[in-house]
């Protein structure tokens, strides 16, 4: 479930780096803890996001939680399909339900994030 290609944060986001761009999402563990997601608030294209800082929020029937950006850079694409279909975040958090694509301003910073195996031991999954 947790791809080795992705890097993970302690706040349960993932990033997949492809050349100059990073695709960002929330993890399967995050959606499972949140429960049914009913609303997503995402930054607009062109917005600047900073690693470790809130870039949006996700609302479930239980609570509203901040989404922390795993990378620094400029948002170049936003997955607007989530606005009308937030349930996709429960169904396919590592695929179709990516949140934003970010043009990375410091690509090296992803090296500080967790690998798939580190993340799985962090969340206590086997």
């Amino acid at each position: 479930m947790y791809s080795d290609q992705y890097r993970y944060t302690k706040e349960h986001e993932w990033v997949l780096v492809d050349g100059p761009t990073g695709t960002v999402g929330i993890t399967h563990h995050a959606q499972s803890e949140l429960g049914d997601i009913v609303y997503v608030d995402l930054p607009k294209a062109g917005a600047l996001v900073t690693q470790g800082k809130a870039m949006g929020s996700v609302e479930s029937v239980k609570a509203v939680s901040d989404i922390y950006s795993p990378v620094t850079g400029e948002v170049v694409e936003v997955n607007n399909a989530l606005v009308t279909a937030p349930e996709k975040l429960n169904e396919d958090p590592h695929g179709q339900a990516w949140l934003v694509k970010v043009k990375l301003s410091s690509p090296d910073e992803v090296n500080g994030l967790m690998s798939a195996s580190d993340y799985q031991s962090y969340i206590g999954a086997s």
Binding site: E33, D36, V38, Y39, V61, K62, A63, P86, E87
Partner: protein
């Protein structure tokens, strides 16, 4: 075993819109005995509303039955225990209502001249001084209309004080065990929010606080006792740290019902705080009446309090608007006056020793529940509980049953659910606040229900997962309701 409830006839009721038929009226007034006036000519056409489309038209008995039927479909503190943690759903004594309906109070008008409103002003003054004494503060404004409004007012006061010192600063520290409204308040007043993690005892991590408290910090917003129902035993040290950096300490007084008569925030380093009269001081919640969130401050913030302020001129009281440093008005007139009257009635009916007893009983009740339920539910933080106790669903989630399922099943046992999934620092939280209202008999029924549900989770988890079973409607689809809400009634299509 369910001991408290059994099914009984409960009548269906359509929306008033669906009961409507044109021309129906309730009480009919006699014809005018003065010349009729055209409102559009008198007030200007733009001030007169045209016909409201689909406005329901029903007879008096239909209106009465409609709301009476709806009331039987509800749950209320007047039916039984309402252990909704953090909300302090205590009984609203009827003596409060009697006092608030006193003719001179109920019929007072906000534009009544001060000379004819001395009684009402005395009520406000008496409540101010009682709250000052209870909180150990120097001054209080009664204007804010609710807790979050009080928070906003309190942080605006802090901003005004810091601005007067030359720099309003940038950020507010909020522990992760605080009320959810605290970070919202900080953001609404133009501050950035910085979270402070709790230690493993559920208290503020002083080392983390010390690192975070630099000269950009305007204030710490602390809920004490916290949302874990735990008293911040290092509150004085926390306050010292903030004060030494020129910052202030705001206390969310939502849990003040655990402190009244035992400890005064003003004595443990708090500079500004709000009270929820609809929690601690027994005035009705929500639909039962508006709230009130008075804000109490230390001397240095007095000059910034909202106008008007009460001013004593010899034997009489007056309203003082001449307060150049005031942050201005935060509420029409003088706040929710009827609520303030009820709170004063509660305070005077109890007296000091009575208020202290109420606090002790609230703490005793919460600890009784904690002790009785600890063998059946996981207790993540072992620090002493004050007025509420917080369990997690750790033991039950192994069977796939979560806190929300247990709460739904509790409805079948005749209780309002506890607070679900809050505070957020506890995974799958069950937050239980009995208040001092409940007798041991009612507490035992609740405890029996919770133990019985824990056993159901072990032996027949489906019963809990599909609950409630005895209610008018089975489990409602909260997810679709949140994702695709229908917010307005629309008439069915013609034909």
């Amino acid at each position: 075993m369910i001991k408290k409830v059994r099914p009984h006839l409960n009548q269906d009721e359509a929306l008033l819109f669906e009961r409507s038929s044109p021309g129906k009226r309730a009480y009919q007034l006699r014809g005018l005995d003065v010349p009729d006036v055209d409102p559009a000519a008198a007030l200007g056409a733009s001030h007169v509303r045209a016909e409201i489309e689909h406005f329901p038209e029903v007879s008096e008995v239909e209106a009465i039955r409609h709301f009476t039927k709806l009331s039987t479909q509800n749950y209320a503190i007047d039916y039984g225990m309402y252990p909704l943690g953090s909300c302090t759903m205590k009984y609203n004594p009827r003596i409060n209502e009697l006092v608030a309906r006193t003719e001179g109070i109920a019929w007072a008008h906000p534009y009544q001249p001060e000379s004819l409103a001395q009684g009402c002003l005395q009520v406000l003054a008496a409540l101010e001084s009682a709250l000052i004494e209870i909180c150990g503060m120097d001054a209080v404004t009664l204007q804010p209309a609710a807790g979050a409004h009080g928070e906003w007012t309190g942080i605006m006061l802090i901003r005004a004080l810091l601005e007067s010192r030359g720099n309003p600063r940038k950020r507010i520290l909020v522990p992760d065990s605080a009320h959810g409204t605290n970070p919202a308040t900080a953001a609404m007043t133009g501050y950035a929010v910085e979270n402070i993690a709790s230690n493993d005892r559920g208290m503020i991590d002083l080392a983390a606080l010390d690192r975070a408290a630099n000269d950009e910090i305007a204030a710490l917003m602390v809920t004490n006792p916290s949302t874990l129902g735990i008293f911040e035993e290092n509150i004085m040290k926390a306050a010292e740290i903030l004060h030494s950096r020129g910052a202030l300490v705001y206390m969310d007084g939502a849990n003040m019902n655990a402190l009244v008569g035992l400890a005064r925030p003003g004595d443990f380093g708090i500079d500004v705080m709000h009270l929820n009269l609809h929690k601690t001081f027994s005035t009705p919640h929500g639909g039962g009446g508006p709230g009130a969130g008075p804000v109490a401050v230390k001397k240095e913030l007095d000059a910034f309090l909202p106008v008007p302020r009460l001013k004593r001129l010899g034997e009489t009281l007056a309203l003082d608007y001449d307060r150049p440093q005031s942050i201005g008005k935060v509420r029409a007139y003088y706040g929710n006056f009827g609520v303030l009257v009820r709170a004063l009635a509660y305070i005077l009916a109890h007296g000091g020793p009575g208020l202290r007893n109420a606090t002790l009983d609230a703490i005793l009740n919460a600890n009784y529940i904690r002790k009785q339920l600890e063998p059946y539910y996981d207790l993540p933080y072992k620090s002493p509980s004050m007025h509420e106790c917080v369990f997690s669903d750790d033991l039950q989630s192994a069977k796939g049953v979560r806190t929300g399922d247990i709460a739904k099943r509790l409805i079948d046992y005749g209780f309002h659910p506890y607070t679900v999934s809050f505070p957020l620092i506890v995974r799958g939280a069950l937050m239980i606040e009995p208040t001092e209202t409940e007798s041991k008999m009612e507490l035992d029924l609740f405890i029996d229900a919770m133990i019985s549900i824990a056993k159901e989770v072990e032996n027949e988890p489906e019963t809990v997962l599909k609950a409630p079973h005895l209610t008018r409607t089975s489990r409602v689809d909260e997810v679709t309701a949140a994702r695709k809400p229908i917010l307005r009634w629309t008439p069915p299509a013609e034909g």
